[in-house]
């Protein structure tokens, strides 16, 4: 489980996994691209994600950052439904644009036996100024031997 470059789950495998495990919210998200230790994905913004004025709500931004950190971890370790978020620190920096999807770019900075640590930037589609950044730690359940 060292910092291998091998992708164990690609975009299709992660999408199927998400539909299987998080069927309630799987339609909210789509995966654009998976690379070693990186994922780009989106929140397919719908009415339920919005605040008055048309801006994406804080919990919806949190949800996107959280799922991006989860999936970039699973891409490298394979399907582990039981990985759980232990910490997230999120900075809200700009108001998201109305009427467009929200894009997450997640990088996996550390993949240990017990913990993964990621950095996620969120953008309104079509803009290069990040609306939020988040750092997330996932606890990975011990492998049974």
């Amino acid at each position: 489980m060292a910092q291998s470059e091998e992708i164990l789950m690609d975009a299709d495998a992660l999408t199927l996994f998400m539909r299987d495990v998080f069927q309630q919210v799987a339609d909210d998200f789509a995966i654009d691209h998976v690379a070693p230790h990186e994922i780009t994905m989106r929140l397919c913004t719908q009415h339920k994600h919005l605040r008055p004025g048309g801006t994406v709500s804080g919990p919806s931004m949190f949800a996107l950052a959280d799922v991006a950190a989860y999936l970039v971890t699973l891409a490298m370790i394979g399907p582990q439904a039981l990985a759980v978020t232990t910490n997230c620190s999120i900075d809200f920096m700009r108001k998201p644009a109305a009427g467009v999807d929200l894009i997450a770019q997640a990088k996996l900075l550390k993949l240990g036996r017990q913990l993964s640590v990621s950095h996620v930037l969120l953008f309104s589609e079509g803009s290069s100024a990040p609306v939020a950044q988040a750092t997330l730690t996932y606890a990975i359940p011990p492998v049974k031997t």
Copy 2:
């Protein structure tokens, strides 16, 4: 705006404000108690807040912590719809119990002219072991003079 003990909005005023400004989610939350620099409130857990297994989802926990920090700030400064979260750090410590409400106890630790800082503990109703803790900073819009 110094650390006055005077409550400018009580539970009823905050509830009306929430229904007015966040009508999409206002029914998700209820306020139990307001005291100087403190609020106790709850997420009235519904199916949409759950993950498989019946546990409350991470974004729902984030949403509760966020609204508690917002309302404990407004209780002391009055209605300021434009206050915005700038940072939240949240530690997920235990799995919430299924089938019960989630309770937030928020304390306002700093109320400055530009920023408020809070600490929030989340509990499954009936349990004394916190399921999460969060620290939140709100930016308060400058008063126009």
Copy 3:
């Protein structure tokens, strides 16, 4: 390792441990009080901890919060020199007073097999308004069996 109330290391044992393991900085800190899942300790403020104007520096505040979270963990699990900080989020809320010690009140909110999570408030001695709050996670090395 459940949430036992039994203190495995008291103030004297923690002080000796600190002198043994962190001899470079042990004289900077003193322990006031240890209770189940709680510790009160202090930074014995010296010239090297100060910024121009006599205020305690940010790194010195971080150091105090970090050692308080470490020692409140060890108080409950016994001497584990290899426990390491994995995350700290710290809010700097007020300027510390000049010429007085800095006090830390740490609470251990979660003690699991792999992780401990704490909340720490820092005060200038004699003041009830916190100068900083911090949340810290420690990774606890697995017990060899």
Copy 4:
């Protein structure tokens, strides 16, 4: 104060400023490179920064991340000694290598009128695996008019 690309203080100006304002610690740090919204700098590791085993201490890593976020802000807004850290979240991911400097790469993600937000990666010199990441918010004092 919009997201201009113009550097108002270069490496030399920042070094002089640091010696002037933080003379107690200025010799601990050196600036490698300044670009728009980015800085690369180092902790010139000395005995006082170390823990037993020769690894750089947590407070020293915090100090480097903090000064990097401060200087990348000042590079774009000019000398503002009174800017203060309001929040730092730091993830410690790997043990720093012994006997080498610690390098910080800081990016300024948001520069508003009241707040700057940065992301900092720390590396042991010569290694590409980050030892820590930090996110920092600075409060910028209002311009007097």
